[in-house]
Subunit: 185 residues, 2 copies
């Protein structure tokens, strides 16, 4: 495809930046393809050719914003690491901007690639936590079990079932996931 | 609001039917507000006034299609009832039309009411199964635990994380939910 750092990457960066700036300055309603193109210094047809329509562009921008900026912090144990990460994830995703990004990511994503990328970001973070715990000699659940028991319930409730979205809820989910590997005796 | 069976209900039924018919006959691309209005025998402004735009209308139609048609079957035990229901739910929701309805329901739903209704349909079905098991004297998990452990992982994977969507996966989730109330000794 395009060379990294080439024209294609520059266009993408300029267009993504234009979306973020226009939205911050003038709000969501200001986001039209002609307005984004003018701000980015490209023609509208460049945007239509590359993204199809505004919704697909907003989906790409949303996924980029949902990309975690750093590796999960090391708090010394699997339980502490996973709880801290789950609380942080819930905070971000359940916030008004998090909800808007999830929604945008899903909406302009006919083939599911962007939704899959969101899930991959979360799974990558979980894997870092699990690998670190394994190195410590802790017993760990599988990454897919953590996706089912911790990530899925939070995302499901954010999208479909309001309420319950507290730090205590995140802790409860982590507890369930960890109990599934080491059932109480 | 509107009287049941009154003009408002008749308009809704006619417009919903027009969407279903046009989509079946001419495909998704044929769905425009003027075309739906003409088929339903109402004016486009009736549709705009009531639904705002096409996406909100499609969201309402999708939720209506996601409404379960019957109570979950009684197979004689909680495990059998919940497994059969989970397999059926997964089949429907992961099918191409199920995915399209979930997507439509989410997209034209700025206030989350339609997404909440989808979740309420599932919770109602789960409650019927749990109440029946309680009457039999079985130990049962709470409805919110079943939403977290069975419904959420299926819906999360349908939307965000492809793969795994098999009957064996549904069975595995049900097993986990039931083990959470009665841990293996």
């Amino acid at each position: 495809m395009a060379r990294p750092g080439g024209r294609s990457a520059r266009v993408q960066e300029a267009v993504h930046a234009a979306v973020r700036e226009l939205e911050a300055e003038q709000g969501r309603e200001a986001l039209t393809v002609p307005a984004v193109a003018a701000r980015a210094g490209v023609t509208p047809s460049t945007i239509y050719r590359r993204w199809g329509d505004l919704q697909e562009l907003l989906s790409d921008v949303a996924v980029e914003r949902l990309r975690p900026e750093e590796a999960p912090a090391d708090h010394g144990s699997l339980h502490a690491d996973l709880s801290a990460w789950a609380r942080h994830f819930l905070d971000e995703m359940a916030s008004p901007s998090g909800r808007a990004y999830i929604r945008d990511a899903l909406l302009g994503d006919p083939d599911g690639a962007n939704a899959g990328q969101c899930s991959a970001y979360a799974a990558d973070q979980v894997e870092v936590i699990l690998a670190r715990a394994t190195e410590r000699g802790e017993e760990v659940p599988g990454v897919e079990a953590v996706m089912d028991l911790v990530v899925a319930p939070m995302m499901y409730r954010i999208l479909f079932r309001p309420g319950r979205l507290t730090a205590a809820y995140a802790d409860h989910l982590v507890q369930t996931a960890l109990t599934s590997v080491a059932p109480p005796r």
